[in-house]
């Protein structure tokens, strides 16, 4: 095969593949601007005949999607902020501080990575029920405030911090808290950003646990609200697409803006095997 044909073939396949990957997303956007009922025609319309904001108006004014959007932001932002703080502290301790039983504890932490989260869900629900936390933000936020995986990532990254730097600060009489805040944290900034994007996206897209823990509509996140809308309004494709757009746009935008950090994190994370 001549290089010219090979080049054309490779680009053809890549363009075709990319179209397949992106088409459902573009179509979702297009359908969300169609008038109710427009999707019930053949051939399936690719573009709206008269673009309208009506579906978005209905979503926010009647279906209460504004509330779901707010809940999603509150829950995802809280999980991100808290879990970053806790994972950074613990990861740093595992990497740089000496204490009895450090290796064994770290092994136990790695062991936890093997256990699927769903195993814990039933007793966790009962526990939260006795605490009176079911159907509250806390039910979703608190169990996600630390992850074995996040601690592992930070620990791998923090091992690169030179010990001399920390020793020098100790000799100068700096407290451990101050060393962490003024020397370690600035050095951990890249992993912090990566972990923040990852955590936010995971929390935003999470479905099963919120479905179990948030029983009332007033606490629904966007995926939950959308799933319940999809069961009530199965035929309103235009409305559903607008709901999907509202759900996907924030995470897609975050990914596009921070792509480099996200992909770095993905690769760091995959080294765990």
């Amino acid at each position: 095969m001549s290089p010219r044909i090979a080049k054309a073939l490779i680009h053809g396949l890549l363009i075709g593949g990319s179209l397949l990957a992106v088409f459902p997303l573009l179509w979702m956007l297009s359908v969300s601007f169609m008038h109710p009922g427009e999707t019930g025609s053949l051939p399936p319309p690719l573009l709206p005949t008269h673009a309208t904001w009506r579906n978005y108006e209905n979503l926010f004014l009647r279906a209460g999607v504004g509330r779901y959007l707010f809940n999603s932001f509150v829950i995802s932002a809280s999980i991100t902020a808290l879990s970053i703080a806790f994972n950074l502290m613990a990861g740093y301790a595992f990497a740089k501080l000496r204490f009895a039983g450090r290796e064994r504890l770290f092994q136990a932490l790695l062991g936890m990575l093997v256990i699927p989260a769903q195993v814990a869900m039933l007793p966790l629900f009962l526990m939260l029920k006795y605490l009176g936390w079911v159907n509250s933000y806390a039910a979703v936020i608190v169990p996600a405030m630390a992850t074995a995986f996040g601690i592992f990532l930070v620990r791998q990254y923090a091992r690169g911090i030179p010990d001399e730097l920390l020793e020098a600060a100790r000799i100068d009489g700096a407290s451990e808290a101050r060393i962490f805040g003024q020397i370690v944290l600035p050095l951990l900034k890249p992993i912090m950003v990566t972990l923040a994007i990852f955590t936010f996206l995971t929390a935003w897209n999470d479905f099963m646990w919120p479905l179990i823990a948030l029983t009332g509509q007033e606490h629904y996140t966007l995926p939950l609200g959308l799933a319940s809308l999809a069961r009530e309004h199965a035929q309103d494709s235009e409305l559903m697409m607008a709901g999907s757009v509202v759900t996907v746009i924030p995470v897609l935008a975050l990914f596009l803006a921070m792509q480099r950090y996200y992909i770095e994190g993905l690769l760091l994370g995959s080294v765990k095997g």
């Binding site: 090979a6 080049k7 490779i10 680009h11 593949g17 990319s18 990957a21 459902p24 997303l25 979702m28 019930g40 025609s41 053949l42 502290m89 613990a90 501080l97 000496r98 204490f99 932490l109 936890m112 093997v114 256990i115 699927p116 989260a117 195993v119 814990a120 869900m121 039933l122 007793p123 966790l124 009962l126 526990m127 608190v142 169990p143 405030m145 630390a146 601690i151 451990e176 808290a177 897209n205 479905f207 099963m208 479905l211 179990i212 966007l222 995926p223 959308l226 799933a227 999809a230 559903m240 697409m241 999907s244 757009v245 995470v251 897609l252 596009l256 993905l266 690769l267 995959s270 095997g273």
Partner: protein, 292 residues
């Protein structure tokens, strides 16, 4: 000594969260699976009885457990190889030195990964719609009769697999791409001088060098695909005729629809054991493959 105390302060918040909200529930799940915890026990704990392995015994004699397991295995056995092949293909294309606008293609191919399952499942439900869906329309142009993708028990799982592959392949593509870039260029150089074809280079250089990456990707993907839940929940509600009810869906129904927490915990533990066994088997087979 002071440093020791500081270390525990740094560890305390994360370890408390993980201990109380993960480790403790996991241990409790094992205990729960040995009881008949149900709606009556939920109302009054005195109704709780210890039943030893009865839940497990019961499950292993119920067709609905085996059918849920079979659906999950179907999803894993077809979905994982398919998604790995697509990921690897996309990575190989992207890695070609001939490609221009590499980052644009990479971003486009990766975009479905960051989207929300529920949201894009809604989109796919419309694409797969029997009457007005785009897929049946396109097939109709080729003279193929419409298929009831999500309503026909034979097609529902293949449809969900198609959706899952579309949604997930970008993730492994990135990992493969990094693996491919780590293969030393002079290996290919030497092979080319020896007159090896592109296919031979792929078989004798790319695949062996990618071996560890492939194994890791396979293990992570298998354990991810065993946890099938949101896709059938939104697209088919486990139907038609239970044909997309996965093991986790069964756990969800047992636990949160019928409040049989003892039985549901047994389902969760069986899934865990199966996943663990499959992972161990894969590691073992790969080691034997290396030795041979």
């Amino acid at each position: 000594m002071k440093a020791q105390r500081a270390a525990w302060w740094f560890l305390a918040p994360a370890l408390l969260v993980l201990g109380i909200f993960f480790l403790l529930p996991v241990i409790a799940a094992l205990g729960l699976s040995l009881t008949d915890y149900d709606l009556y026990a939920l109302a009054d704990i005195r109704h709780l009885r210890f039943v030893a392995l009865h839940n497990y015994w019961d499950l292993l004699h119920q067709p609905r457990f085996w059918s849920a397991l079979w659906h999950t295995l179907y999803f894993v056995l077809v979905g994982v190889p398919l998604s790995i092949i697509v990921s690897l293909g996309a990575a190989l294309l992207l890695n070609s030195p001939l490609v221009r606008f590499k980052t644009v293609f990479r971003t486009a191919l990766f975009a479905p990964v960051v989207t929300t399952v529920v949201a894009v499942a809604v989109v796919w439900r419309y694409i797969l719609n029997t009457k007005y869906g785009l897929l049946n329309y396109a097939l109709g142009l080729a003279g193929i009769h419409p298929v009831d993708w999500l309503g026909d028990p034979h097609w529902a799982m293949p449809s969900i697999i198609l959706f899952a592959v579309w949604k997930n392949f970008g993730y492994n593509m990135i990992i493969f791409l990094a693996g491919l870039q780590a293969i030393p260029k002079d290996l290919y150089e030497a092979a080319r001088i020896d007159g090896a074809s592109a296919m031979q280079q792929f078989r004798h250089i790319t695949l062996p060098m990618l071996g560890p990456t492939l194994l890791m990707v396979a293990i992570l993907t298998v354990s991810g695909y065993f946890q099938l839940f949101a896709e059938p929940y939104v697209m088919t509600e486990g139907g038609p005729l239970q044909s997309t009810t996965s093991v986790l869906y069964l756990m969800y129904n047992e636990g949160f629809k019928w409040w049989n927490f003892g039985m549901a915990s047994a389902v969760a533990f069986l899934l865990f054991v199966i996943m663990f066994a499959v992972t161990a088997l894969m590691l073992r087979m790969s080691r034997r493959g290396e030795a041979a």
